[in-house]
Amino acid sequence: MARGVEPGLGRASALAIAPELCLVDRQPALEHAALIDIATWAGRFTPAISLDPPHAILLEVETCLRLFGGLVPLGRQITKGIEELGFHARLAVAQTPLAARWLARFGAGDDAGKALAARLDPLPLIALADGTPVGPDSLDLLTGTGHASLGEVRRLPRHGLARRHAQAVTDALDRAYGRIPDPRPWFSPPERYASRLPLPTPSDQVDTLLFAARRLLAGLAGWLDARQAGIERFTLVLEFERNSQAPEAPLEIVLGTLSQDMQRCQLLAREHLNRLPLPAAVDALRLTADEPHPLAPPAGELFQGDDGQPGDAGLLLATLRARLGDQAVRCLTSHPDHRPEKAWRWVEPQPPDRSRGRQEPPLPASPRPLWLLPEPRPIPAPPPWTLLTGPERIASGWWDGPEATVRRDYFVARSQDGGLAWVFRDGVAPHYWYLHGHFA
């Protein structure tokens, strides 16, 4: 732009001015997808949305002005939000959909207080062909008769226009000026959120990917906001360049709790992206969300202090698992089995606010050590330690196969330094002794 490349410039001229210019072909399908993304996001402002292809979206905002504090704050929020999505928008407000579209494209933008006719009249003639069936021959006719603005055309005799095959012109003007109704089909946002963002240039930089992911998440935030819902997990799919080995890599991001907090989504997405080795440059990002669940509005406190806030147990769990991996962050549970190695299990940790008071399995009557060695450690026989209680015979387990079968006599022993240990003598010859745990 700074060099003088302008819309409407030919390809060769543009390249002559700026040789390093990166030219991208227009893709109408992508443009339409972007329009749908924006409309989905706009559901956070009003439920009455209508697509006006190829490049306009209509929002019925009269009913929700009060909620957002008037037209100006609403407009500011919409502009800011659309910039977060990575687009640039021009807004205009009018009583009829067609007038709003024309004003957004051709209007001066600072005349919202005037009457509709006064705002529409100065628009150039070219506006007539925008979003209406008015053909170029009608425009030529009007230009040829020396008319330059909508106001002049409006003052022409109606039946004269109709006779010159320009019925479409009067229809368009009537719709824009509100003389005949102009019903539009409502846009209904998709039931499941899915969005795709092609990157301008393939990249393997985490920061670039995060920047793109932030745009996708902004769209997701609008969609969730419209439904007053939260999600528990979402999937970010990295589509690699076409010539790479693996076409794409899905990245499942678990939020740890029902949430519509995009800060949390970004934080976890960063952890996941940092951990993932990228085999090739990423060409596009795709985001699909889990089924949304209704979310109660946050219970705010009147006097919110910094201290004593309870903290987010689910977020800690999700953060740790995102960086360290699921296998590194787990909970223990006991399991009703008499063999010491089988009497416990790893379990998936549940966010504490959701875990119910679990039924504890019946426990062995005899004391068990607090530390269990992963493998019994051989000790010299007879053990150099004082045996205090025992033996407690633990045997069998044939149902798990011969290697899981045990036959042991357990003793509580006092070691030389005074600590208590759990030792056993193997029941099969040659009766080796092993250390299996510490009462500590």
């Binding site: 201290d307 806030q309 309870p310 903290g311 987010d312 147990a313 977020l315 800690l316 769990l317 953060t319 740790l320 960086r323 360290l324 296998q327 590194a328 962050v329 787990r330 909970c331 223990l332 549970t333 006991s334 399991h335 010491p340 009497a343 416990w344 299990r345 379990v347 940790p349 549940q350 504490p352 606010d353 875990s355 679990r358 504890e360 426990l363 062995p364 009557a365 005899s366 004391p367 068990r368 050590p369 607090l370 530390w371 269990l372 060695l373 992963p374 205090l388 209680t389 509580v412 006092r414 070691s415 330094d417 005074g418 600590g419 208590l420 240990a421 745990g437 510490h438 009462f439 500590a440």
Partner: protein, 254 residues
Amino acid sequence: MAAPALSLLDNLVWRGDRLATPALQGRPTGHAALDAVLPGGGWPLAALSELLLPRNGVGELGLLLPLLANVPAGRWAACIAPPGLPYAPALAAAGVPLERLLIVQPESPAHARWAARQALDSRSCEVVLLWLVDADMGALRRLQLAAEESGTPLILLRPESAAHQPSPAVLRLALSPCRGGLGIRILKRRGPQLTEPLALELPWPGGGPRPDGGLEPPSTATGDPQPSSPSGKHALVRPLPPRSAPSGLHAGAQ
């Protein structure tokens, strides 16, 4: 006339032979004998405490069991990088809510310290236990700051060899096994140094009497050289240094 003023002064001025009274009451350890000698009457909140172990399984879990058993719903007790396997049936028998005990097994000490800082920062943990073999002063200081800011007690479990290293921990306990329980030497606390080792009888699982009989005074022959004469060895409690000035930099040093 003078008595109220004096008693007021008494609260403001700390005297060298008394335990400091920290701003936050400590969290009771569950062992009355230990609570009695700790400033604040328990594990210091919002601070780093250190337990120094001659070996793993010396009795540290038994000491911490009351802390782990009192985790309220909706909060975690985080065990980061435990050297062995805490045995679930024994913990459950001692009343530890297993579904709130988060076991984190990071692949490196750096990851372990990161996990500890996350656990502190999230403020969703009742207590954070971190097993750490090697740590330089900077890492410890960062952990201490994180604990201070989060209001969560962080208990560091380190090998006994670390006793000679300086540490920013406000409380350092050296544990040793002893017949019938656990011997504790307080290496550092906010108060005069306690030269007598403490012997705690740890409860036996199941509630019965310990099979090794009662408690017997721990032998003082083993362990590190420790000040033999109590006189003149009272460690003075210094006020907390201001946060902005890093230690070791004196005002006139430049």
